[in-house]
């Protein structure tokens, strides 16, 4: 595939992520913070988000396996996940966290379990999509091109 085709593919891919509600304008904000001094800023922040999210999702899974469930602690963890997903523009994950928090507050185990599955699912999707997007960007850079805005 030539450079122009790669660039077009990237633009289309990115547009679809916004269209389908995977990303929101906060991701655009994040991209605008990247510059020549910090050319890998977006990848770095998103990588932090991946690490942090996986840690939180593991802890939430463990919390729901306990005999006595600490809903307050879970709520604090979901709040963290909601915050970071909001900060990077991971729209669907953020929205699910809001629902999840409601179940924590209501101390509804079934609801929490269901939500956790949904959040894990959506997180998995956005992670794959962002990684694909970064790979595409890298291909463009390797071919000597620049990333279209």
């Amino acid at each position: 595939m030539d450079l122009v085709q790669l660039q077009r593919q990237l633009v289309d891919y990115r547009t679809s992520l916004y269209h389908e509600g995977f990303l929101d304008e906060q991701f655009t904000q994040l991209q605008s913070l990247q510059d020549e001094n910090n050319p890998d800023f977006v990848v770095e922040v998103v990588s932090l988000f991946f690490e942090d999210s996986e840690r939180l999702l593991n802890e939430l899974s463990k919390a729901l396996e306990q005999q006595v469930i600490d809903f307050k602690r879970m709520d604090a963890q979901v709040h963290q996940l909601k915050g970071s997903s909001s900060s990077i523009g991971a729209h669907r994950v953020q929205k699910l966290c809001i629902v999840f928090r409601n179940y924590c507050e209501a101390q509804n185990v079934e609801g929490c379990l269901k939500c956790l599955q949904q959040v894990k699912h959506e997180y998995g999707i956005i992670k794959t999509k962002l990684e694909s997007m970064f790979q595409l960007e890298q291909q463009i850079l390797n071919a000597g091109g620049s990333i279209p805005v």
Binding site: Q26, Q29, L30, L33, L48, D52, A76, Q80, G83, S87
Partner: protein, 162 residues
């Protein structure tokens, strides 16, 4: 949510606000950014650096107080010293000490009480906002922060240079 500030403090012939404070005033404000969320801390740091601020980050209220010289283990050795920072920007919801409690500690300090404190939160709760403003917060900002929020913040900050 904006604190009303008196005009006319610029002096000189500087005219309107410039986005790049270093060029206009040769001044890089030192900001202490406090947030327990690593991603948010990284973001706010970048936003501030993009606005020519020097940034120190802290992951909770205790660390912030230690940096400011108000740590519980330290004797109050701040008599007659100038604040290290020109602005504190802190998240509201933090484990241990909330941003509100941090704000109160800063306002209780004779050396630091003039330092502007800005509170950030992902939740738009009027009682929370009023509580912070009444306690002396300069501004209350909703997360996620954008570059335009920080630029607006800087314009206000410029009027509070010590």
């Amino acid at each position: 949510m904006l604190y009303q500030i008196m005009d006319g403090d610029y002096g000189g012939s500087c005219g309107g606000c410039s986005e790049d404070m270093t060029v206009e005033f040769g001044y890089e404000p030192h900001v202490l950014a406090v947030d327990d969320n690593l991603i948010d801390r990284t973001l706010v740091e970048k936003l501030l650096k993009n606005s020519s601020c020097k940034v120190t980050t802290a992951e909770n209220g205790l660390r912030a107080l230690e940096f400011l010289g108000l740590g519980s283990d330290e004797r109050n050795s701040l008599e007659g010293t100038v604040s290290k920072v020109n602005l504190v920007i802190t998240d509201y919801c933090m484990p241990g000490m909330t941003g509100y409690e941090l704000l109160k500690k800063i306002k209780e300090s004779s050396v630091l009480k003039e330092v502007p404190v800005v509170i950030m939160s992902s939740e738009n709760i009027p009682t929370r906002i009023n509580q912070c403003l009444e306690e002396g917060a300069q501004m209350f900002m909703l997360k996620p922060l954008k570059q335009s929020d920080v630029k607006q913040l800087k314009r206000h900050l410029m009027k509070y240079r010590s």
